[in-house]
């Protein structure tokens, strides 16, 4: 009973229970669900990057760029440079996303609103075109395969590969959640919220709005790269579609679906999105986009703060229930 009284969503106990559930999930869930979960976690990392910018009032319609940069960095390292070690490839994907964001961010930090959104989209479409057209280098529309890799010098067995990908995604997600929480609670995290509310005041406090946006953008791009690197491992193949505008739109869709109120929200949104998408494709292969659109409409009407806002409702119910238990 005491355990139940102390149990609050977002508390360390709740997080431990959540982590334990995810660790043991392969024991009671089928292979395809584990695959979908791994994809959801990987894309959740990219969406967290989008959400960090949303907290500053910036909508990025170009995060496919960083996702693709991370994924292609892994593919290039494996195929062209024959680097097989995952412990090297993962940081490489992070650097690729962060490095790309460090370049584009120099221009993007000057823009707001629709201009920021469209310019970020334009950058991602430039990369898409490069990946699409430079067939000899990038494999064009065929993309590039992800050949077998090692972890600490050991090749994961083919039958364990899916499980390996899942746990890799899980470990990185836990790390990213920790970083995300630190970031959102930090002075820079709050400064980004301040930027959303009042840029004039930020400048008149003697600090730079552009620099706050730039640093957050680079971090956000690095998360995009990391998520992309993971997608490459999980899918086993990279293609230019990762940089296509629909991929970027999906990330924004998931950010809205999950909500921007918490670092857990993008992951919840991503899991909901991946499952809805999979079932929608299964049951209505020709109209699955319509199903997704309908769900987004419902979310906007009934949960304007995203699926994560259900957390508040549940918290209230749990508190009422705990109160009734005490009485």
């Amino acid at each position: 009973m005491r355990f139940l009284e102390n149990f609050k969503i977002g508390s360390p106990t709740a997080m431990m229970v959540g982590i334990l559930l995810f660790i043991t999930a392969p024991l009671f869930l089928s292979n395809w669900i584990i695959f979908v979960l791994a994809m959801a976690l990987a894309k959740g990392i990219v969406v967290l990057g989008v959400v960090l910018l949303l907290r500053g009032g910036l909508i990025s319609f170009g995060h496919g760029l960083y996702c693709a940069a991370g994924a292609y960095a892994v593919a290039f390292a494996l195929n062209r440079w024959h680097i097989r070690e995952a412990l090297f490839l993962i940081p490489l994907s992070l650097l690729a996303g962060g490095g790309m964001a460090a370049l584009t961010g120099l221009l993007l930090k000057r823009y707001r609103g629709i201009f920021f959104a469209m310019l970020s989209l334009a950058f991602s479409m430039i990369l898409y075109t490069v990946l699409f057209k430079f067939y000899d280098v990038t494999g064009g529309t065929d993309g590039m395969p992800i050949p077998p890799f090692t972890i600490l010098g050991i090749h994961p067995a083919t039958e364990n590969l899916r499980l390996f990908d899942y746990y890799l995604a899980l470990i990185l997600t836990i790390g990213v959640l920790y970083l995300g929480r630190r970031f959102t609670a930090s002075s820079l995290g709050y400064l980004m919220q301040a930027v959303r509310y009042n840029e004039i005041r930020v400048e008149y406090m003697g600090t730079s709005v552009g620099r706050a946006i730039y640093l957050t953008y680079v971090f956000s791009g690095a998360l995009g790269g990391l998520g992309g690197g993971l997608v490459a491992f999980i899918v086993g193949h990279v293609a230019p579609q990762l940089a296509y505008w629909t991929a970027s739109a999906d990330f924004v869709f998931v950010a809205v679906l999950g909500g921007a109120g918490n670092v857990f929200a993008p992951f919840l949104g991503s899991i909901v999105f991946e499952f809805v998408k999979n079932y929608a494709v299964k049951f209505s292969p020709n109209t699955w986009q319509m199903t997704l659109g309908g769900i987004l409409l419902l979310i906007i009407f009934f949960l304007p703060q995203g699926v994560w806002s259900l957390n508040e409702t549940i918290k209230k119910k749990v508190m009422q229930w705990q109160l009734s238990l005490k009485q």
Binding site: R182, F183, A185, S186, S187, L188, G189, Y190, L191, Q193, A194, R196, Y197, N198, I200, R201, E203, Y204, M205, G206, T207, S208, R211, A212, L215, F219
Partner: protein, 248 residues
Amino acid sequence: MAVILKTVSLHKNFGMVKAVDNINLSINGEEVVGIVGTNGSGKTTLLNLITGYLQPTSGEIRFRDNNITGLSPREVIGLGIARSFQIPQLYTGLTVLENMLIAVATRSGKSWDPWTPLNKNSWVEEALGILRQFGFESDARQVVANLPEGGRKLLDVALSFVLKPKLLLMDEPTSGVSVKEKFAVMDALLNTLKDAGVTAVFVEHDVEIVERYAERVLAFDNGRVIADGTVNVVLADKSVRQAVLGVD
């Protein structure tokens, strides 16, 4: 007292309109200066020029013997000038304490820190201390959007005060504040600034406030200073009474 701020032949034109027309003034350290004038007389434009929001058409602005003409607001703030606004510039969706903590972190040069939590003990203590000084102790957890206008005005000044400025420019600190509250707000404000040795310049339409709190008054009309002196002298000046107060 040494001169802290000086403008030399300062001009600002907006097309054919001379918003600031040949202003030459000196503000002494720890003075409390009130600026009066009708709407459009150039009061806020002067503040905008000093704080780098606008660039002068010609002329020079010197602060503690440094030429600050053409510097950006950030650079000006870095030198020790802070300002509050006619319409309070706050982070309205955040709490009073969060607004203050962001200011404290910024002043500490840690606004870029992605690792240190904003609710670091020493920052919270300092923020709460300043909030107490300005009478916000019971509103610390209140979201700024829910504060009354007077509270927002005062918080706007408090945020500038965190920067430990040498010179604080306030644009109509009591506009929107109820008649009952305005003296209490100004008392709290000027006592705090006086204790900290901050030079205060405030733009004000309310003659009662100017009479009560300003040690020196500058009267503006059509972008020019038409009178400069003690309250009694300036408010008794015939041209000021006609142009600014609207009485004969």
